[in-house]
């Protein structure tokens, strides 16, 4: 450069590049179609139904539920926990402590820890309205009936779960118990109130 400082190099550029209009080969498009189909299969196999509690190597929520400890009680409680976490925990909280003034706690609750499900079973089936006193504190929140949503076995599992969680220790509830309650409640279409329930024997 020093030899010719004033004679700067002239950078001539070719024309700016242009792009041709050749079409995408058809065989490629077909191959990509197959690839997308394979993608579906891949997700079927590895995506676990897009569920929150499914991890490899399980394929679906049902697989995970089936893999719970082989002991029947444990499986039953796991089913109860799954249903509880999906539905009941919205008001009663995953830790069973409920919400101050509205949703009563289940942990350490005198209602939950009755001898059997004669009262709480009815609450789950038909709902509860009006004030209720739980472990000495008053709560008031309308609970909707779950009769149509859950099977007997599922209600029994949920009740067994809440009676055996967060420090609670209670007997397991059997599907047959709920079946009997459901027959007794029959076509009742109004929620229970606390005094009505308290008039039922604790068994």
């Amino acid at each position: 450069m020093s030899s010719k400082p004033n004679n700067q190099p002239s950078f001539q550029d070719g024309p700016e590049p242009s792009a041709g209009r050749a079409l995408v080969p058809l065989c490629l498009v077909i191959a990509f179609g197959f690839l997308f189909y394979w993608g579906e299969l891949f997700l079927d196999k590895h995506a676990g139904g897009f569920q929150q509690d499914v991890y490899e190597p399980y394929r679906s929520s049902a697989d995970v539920a089936a893999a719970q400890p082989l002991d029947d009680n444990g499986k039953f409680l796991a089913l109860g926990k799954q249903k509880f976490d999906q539905t009941c925990s919205l008001c009663h909280q995953p830790n069973g402590l409920g919400k101050e003034g509205t949703a009563p706690p289940l942990a350490g609750s005198d209602w939950v820890m009755n001898k059997g499900c004669n009262r709480i079973g009815m609450i789950v089936l038909d709902g509860l309205s009006g004030p209720v006193t739980v472990s000495g504190k008053e709560y008031n929140l309308a609970m909707v009936p779950w009769k149509a949503t859950f099977k007997d076995e599922e209600i029994a599992a949920i009740l067994s779960y809440i009676r055996n969680s967060w420090g609670n220790k209670g007997s397991m509830i059997k599907a047959a118990d709920i079946k009997a309650l459901r027959a007794e409640s029959g076509a009742k279409d109004t929620p229970w109130t606390a005094p009505e329930l308290l008039s039922r024997p604790d068994k």
Partner: protein, 242 residues
């Protein structure tokens, strides 16, 4: 069909910038919905739960303050560059077969971590369950001189986490007990871990993913979990909590 569509698209957006912008917006939205919004909706609100096998205990437990301080030391020195904090399922890697953990890691294990440092490379072993295999004194010695606890370890030493000082009237209870393989210290001196080292060791000993959860059930065959250690010498291996 697709080639026609692509042709149309290409032909259109060659002229009009807005099409380019709209297309990009859709692509950006698709990927952020999948990897930001959807995970937040699904697992952003995970709470403590009780273990399947051990009903009265809530898992994971709320971390103690010193644990948090230790995690801060872990973050500041970016230990995650070489160590992972995640155990893969049996079919996706040899972690469980190697006895690195009791079960695969799940989202719930990390709900109290801030930041979550899962790590992407293992120059050193996974630490998700290091609390089950090493005790605090071994961890401290390992930080001071990795080759004092593990032969041929490639980990760099962290001498700045320790202080060499004259022994006062009484020796410090925390002072490292150096093994005979290391060159002995001058007489009257001791190596004492600083606060950072102690909290880091406390944090590491707290790492243990052993509770079986609904989403991480125990293995079907009631087989005892292998506890072979990958790093710590056998003499210091604790028996894992069952």
């Amino acid at each position: 069909m697709l080639c026609l569509l692509q042709g149309e698209e290409g032909g259109l957006q060659v002229k009009y910038g807005p099409f380019l912008f709209l297309g990009l917006l859709c692509c950006m939205a698709a990927s952020s919905l999948t990897f930001v919004l959807a995970p937040q909706m699904q697992i952003g609100g995970l709470e403590q739960t009780n273990s399947v096998a051990d009903l009265p205990v809530m898992y994971p437990s709320q971390p103690a303050g010193v644990t948090h301080q230790g995690a801060e030391v872990y973050r500041a020195n970016n230990c995650a560059a070489c160590h992972t904090l995640q155990i893969r399922p049996r079919n996706l890697g040899p972690d469980l077969q190697r006895g690195l953990g009791f079960r695969y890691s799940v989202a719930r294990d990390y709900i109290f971590d801030k930041p979550v440092m899962l790590g992407l490379q293992r120059v050193g072993p996974d630490l998700s369950n290091v609390g089950a295999r090493m005790n605090p004194s071994t961890i401290l010695l390992h930080l001071y001189n990795p080759r004092a606890t593990v032969d041929h370890s490639i980990m760099p030493p962290y001498p700045f986490l320790f202080e060499k000082r004259k022994i006062g009237r009484v020796a410090s209870p925390d002072a490292l007990v150096l093994p005979a393989t290391l060159p002995p210290l001058e007489k009257g001196y001791e190596i004492v871990p600083r606060k950072e080292a102690l909290s880091l060791a406390y944090y590491l000993t707290s790492l243990r993913q052993s509770s079986y959860l609904f989403e991480a059930p125990p293995p079907q065959k009631a087989k005892p979990v292998a506890t072979t250690d990958t790093n710590a010498p056998a003499a210091t291996t604790n028996s894992p909590a069952k």
